[in-house]
Amino acid sequence: MAKAAAKKAPSRAKKTGNGAAKPAAKKPDLSASEGVAIQCIGMNKWYGDFHVLRDINLTVNKGERIVICGPSGSGKSTLIRCMNRLEEHQEGQIIVDSIELSNDIKKIDEVRREVGMVFQHFNLFPHLTIMENCTLAPIWVRKMPKAEAQDVAMSFLERVKIPEQANKYPGQLSGGQQQRVAIARSLCMNPRIMLFDEPTSALDPEMIKEVLEVMVDLAQTGMTMLCVTHEMGFARQVANRVIFMDEGQIIEQNEPGEFFDNPQSDRTKLFLSQILH
């Protein structure tokens, strides 16, 4: 029912976001953003009274691969869920692919067509086969002919190395396979940006590697990726930038070498010492 929630939110966001605290430059950002994929300007979000995201300013360039980490409850999932409006923000701006996210359902759907998302729990559609999972959105959203959609789906299933599972149902696949299907399903929409919300944290340890391999492969194609994960090896290998969040704020961001070897804030040091045993 995320859509429903999105519908409800608009009035408040308009008041606070576009009225009172008008961020300095609204138009220039759009035009000067040839190389910008996502931009958050002074973005704030509350769950009721709880201030989950505080003054987020973030620019993601096209082709950039960003890993977001931080303790649980730090708002990292919420942040990327705001970027395709699964969650709405109440203040500030989010501009994705030159489209500003507001309550306009059309704009939201436009953004969602260009932004793929992979979830922690895969969220494959259990009543549809793998092939149908992959072709559903291209057929119904992109209006692609069925045969073409199947060809596209097959090519992506080959890329995630499970073409032979195309006619099975998600319930018959292992967790790792399901997550790879979920990645293929997103890619079938030919997105410009991919969001990963802890893609490996619901997997058995044996299956993490196969999913990470697919993600590394994807990174090498130059896809813009935002990835919430605690796989620090992955971050080192593919990220251009690692962002550390705590209590709804971006505490520190740096390229991975610097970030891991020379963290600036004490909070980051503590976090790293706890996850890198």
Binding site: A2, K3, L86, R112, M117, F125, H127, A137, P170, G171
Partner: protein
């Protein structure tokens, strides 16, 4: 598989299970004689079967009378099925074919055959020429209405007050079933809507209908509704009953469907949203197929309940198959044959309800994709 695993040391080869734990003996041991108490129950059960079943078979079939003009012709000790043989027209069609103003029986018969043809492609997806049959299903309601009620295109009009018996049961049951599911789905979605006005409307409708007995609603429809209509406009009694039955079962259906909607994990809604599917597309492609599958038992339960509740239209003077049976056994020729009449009606109801029940089980198994939440 075994070839590769056999190799390591200390590998334990699979063995046959102990004798008497599999096969017919094993089944009986496990299900009929698993304990002293169960063994006693099994023996008592067997004794009851031996004691009652032969008598029932004898009464119902062996020494029953099948022909005759009235109950006086039933001379044996068994059942007097002559009642059914003589009164079948009323039991099945009511007064449909009685003059004046009646119609020939091929019309309801053809409508029934048409119903079967219209329903089969809806129930089974591997029927040949399903696409064309579905088109027929679409026009069937109009066709059936024309066949039964007539009045134009060369068929004489048969007023609905002549309809009765199983025909009436089927009309109310089929219309109720066909309309209550879609209306119920709309009500269920409305009840979860973000728009307060729509939500309130749906809640009020559902709770009002569920709070009032069907009989009360039928009485209200037959006695009070005319007060609201201007002079001269008289809504057909059957139409009024249909409206009430549909409204009643839709309210229940809405709650069944809502249960299914609530059982769908939030992630499914989010995944559909994240792909850019619109609200209606995500509902019809993702959410409802799963939600309805979960509540198939509940839906069919409502259908069966509805089919049996149709008999309540008796209270507003519509005679369904039970009403006709009751009328038959109060007739001087057949007085005292309540057992035969009601058993026959019971068997007819059972055939329909049991079929629905079996279909629902079959459908559940067919739609099972091995996904356990």
């Amino acid at each position: 598989m075994s070839d590769t695993t056999k190799s390591f040391e200390g590998w334990i080869a699979p063995r046959q299970p102990p004798s008497g734990t599999v096969g017919a003996v094993g089944w009986m041991r496990e299900n009929l004689f698993s304990s002293i108490g169960n063994s006693i129950m099994t023996i008592i059960g067997l004794a009851l079967i031996v004691y009652t079943v032969p008598g029932i078979i004898d009464w119902a079939f062996l020494s029953a009378d099948y022909t005759g003009e009235s109950r006086k012709d039933c001379t044996s000790d068994g059942a007097c099925w002559a009642l059914v043989a003589v009164r079948w027209k009323q039991l099945f069609y009511g007064f449909y074919s009685t003059s004046p103003g009646g119609g020939s029986l091929w019309r309801p018969n053809l409508a029934f055959i048409g119903l079967l043809i219209a329903v089969v492609p809806l129930l089974f997806d591997n029927v040949p020429y399903r696409r064309y049959l579905l088109l027929f299903s679409l026009v069937y309601p109009v066709l059936a209405w024309w066949l039964l009620s007539g009045g134009f295109f060369g068929l004489d009009e048969v007023s609905t007050h002549k309809w009765g018996g199983l025909l009436l049961t089927m009309v109310i049951g089929v219309v109720g079933i066909a309309l209550s599911l879609p209306i119920g789905i709309v009500l269920a979605l409305g009840r979860r809507s973000d728009m307060p006005a729509i939500r309130m409307l749906c809640v009020i409708f559902i709770e009002f209908i569920r709070g009032v007995p069907l009989i009360t609603l039928l009485f209200m429809a037959s006695n009070m509704l005319p007060l609201f209509f201007p002079e001269g406009i008289d809504l057909d009694k059957l139409v009024r009953a249909l409206v009430v039955v549909v409204a009643f079962s839709s309210a229940y259906m809405a709650e069944v469907v809502r249960g299914g909607l609530q059982a769908i994990p939030k992630g499914q809604y989010e995944a559909a949203d994240a792909m850019g599917l619109s609200f209606w597309k995500s509902m019809f492609l993702i959410i409802l197929p799963q939600a309805l599958k979960i509540v198939i038992p509940g839906i069919v339960n409502s259908f069966i309940g509805l089919f049996k509740d149709t008999t309540l239209v008796l209270v507003i003077g519509l005679f369904d198959i039970l009403g006709m049976a009751k009328a038959a056994v109060t007739h001087a020729d057949w007085i005292g044959l309540a057992r035969e009449a009601y058993i026959f009606v019971g068997v007819v109801y059972f055939v329909f309800c049991f079929s629905m029940s079996r279909y629902s089980i079959w459908l559940e198994e067919k739609l099972d994709t091995g996904h356990k939440r």
